[in-house]
Symmetry: C2
Subunit: 314 residues, 2 copies
């Protein structure tokens, strides 16, 4: 939010050069930015806003001149710069507040609300849609979901890049609230043939050194924690696979072992296609929902929905 205020200040000064009056941002410019991103182009944004393409371009140029920096990368694909992304996040939060207002002043038409949320890939691939689907449909709430490592999403929230974050940190950041959502259980899994090939002589350093693992990203904390639990600290040959479903497919194809959410592969565990390579080992990851205090009623109701509908153990 600090970043948003800095941008707000810059916009104000550029608009009128008077710092003593509280002048608001020119939301027509921000609306143009949000629409270009939403529609994926200037022409379609013009249709949506009832403006010519060149009028939309002009609004974007004005915004960039006032800010003194680009808000949009135009080629090869249209996307927001980091500053543009913070403005978009601000627009989304203002739109959430406008919805509350429309609820109490029916003459105002209810705007569509968008919310940018960082969450971990495994939640998105498993329980997330079930928990929030009905709520989003009922409230006509649209989500921009961003996949982040469990430990990195919060930084994006602090930078004003997302309005809420589902991650494993229990520490609320300044100005935000944090509630527990539940626990995901991870098991170290592979095919029986894989276990036979690489771990038939048990768990020792030699085996870990030669058995290929599957890890989600270069800093997969689950893999490190599992190896530490096994007392192993050496190098591990591994595939990198930044996709939850791809991860399961690689394990099923016998390419490696990996830490997989139990709930994602209950069927494969029941049929014996995947087995725990270290039956006594599992990892629990507690998840927390972080959101800005001033997100308005929609954010409060979304939080309640997540807490009550999440199938995770609390």
């Amino acid at each position: 939010m600090a970043q948003d205020y800095r941008l707000t200040a810059i916009l104000k000064i550029h608009i009128h050069n008077v710092a003593s009056v509280f002048l608001m941002i020119d939301y027509k410019l921000l609306e143009a930015l949000a629409t270009v991103i939403e529609c994926g182009g200037f022409e379609r944004a013009g249709v949506a806003l009832g403006l010519s393409q060149s009028a939309v371009s002009q609004r974007l140029r004005t915004l960039e001149i006032r800010l003194g920096q680009p808000v949009l990368i135009r080629s090869p694909i249209i996307k927001a710069t980091p500053a543009g992304q913070r403005l978009l996040n601000h627009v989304q939060q203002v739109q959430l507040l406008e919805r509350d207002l429309a609820g109490s002043i029916p003459a105002l038409s209810e705007p569509t609300a968008r919310l940018r949320i960082a969450l971990n890939a495994d939640s998105l691939a498993t329980w997330w849609a079930t928990a929030i689907g009905e709520f989003c449909a009922e409230e006509a709430l649209l989500l921009d979901m961003v996949i982040e490592d469990q430990d990195i999403g919060l930084r994006r929230m602090r930078e004003g890049d997302v309005a809420a974050c589902l991650c494993s940190s229990p520490q609320p950041i300044a100005g935000a609230r944090c509630v527990p959502v539940g626990t995901m259980t991870y098991l170290p899994l592979a095919t029986p043939a894989y276990v036979q090939r690489y771990f038939s002589s048990g768990f020792n350093a030699d085996n870990f050194e030669s058995a290929p693992a599957i890890v989600f990203g270069p800093n997969d904390q689950l893999q490190h924690r599992f190896l530490a639990q096994c007392g192993y600290h050496g190098p591990v040959p591994h595939h990198l696979c930044p996709s939850s479903e791809g991860f399961v497919k690689l394990a099923l194809a016998g390419m490696g072992y990996g830490m997989i959410p139990q709930a994602q592969v209950q069927q494969e565990l029941d049929t014996g296609q995947l087995v725990n390579i270290a039956p006594s080992q599992s990892l629990e990851v507690r998840l927390y929902w972080h959101f800005w205090r001033h997100g308005g009623g929609v954010m409060d109701r979304l939080t309640t929905a997540i807490q009550s509908a999440s199938p995770l153990n609390r």
Copy 2:
């Protein structure tokens, strides 16, 4: 590759200041970089290389001084800079060539090979592991998979960031080969309840304007192509969901309609959980495998494996 040669040139000049002799890169430095990334830390890399942590740090510092730029971002998580990534890609390609050499000179121990590959999320979530799993296990080949939009992976290959790319472009880039892999069929799918709610009056602009879609990223070409086929060019309310499995879950939860690979949801189509919102509409995406000509025998055999084992229609 051009980028790699530029870096090579810089390294040579810094090492000896003699441009007329062809001096090779100091591979001990690159090996230290690759091991730090692979192990996710300096201490573990030291164990793997039989060096102290400070010796590993020193090698990285030497590399950065010679290059005149950082190769590693150290905080909050360790990852390669763009220049570091190009060096890693070069090391991987050299290791592939070393494997071929080890095949003809048995006295050389066979090194582990890593290959960095860009591919589309939907391939990774569906047929990819089945096609290459056995080959990777047999050849002890490790993969770094990077998910990219079908139309962006090639750029990363051109920049020397990946050694191969699975994408929808049939145009080979200079120095590389390109072979067809097959076709993925996408259908516009949603739950029956969703269709009833938003499209019961048929396909018209009003419906598209209010029915939430699910798109993979801000420039989802499939969504744009589908709407263009329907003759609609206006704005579309949408969720952004950069996860193949999450995408299917959102559709199943009734949050929107989206273009989903038929093969990924055959079961849900058979049971009627998902239906085609526009039964006459589908999109075919042809996929091509791009790889550097000089990848050695492993790359040739991997290419054969992908072509022969891919379950896609050709």
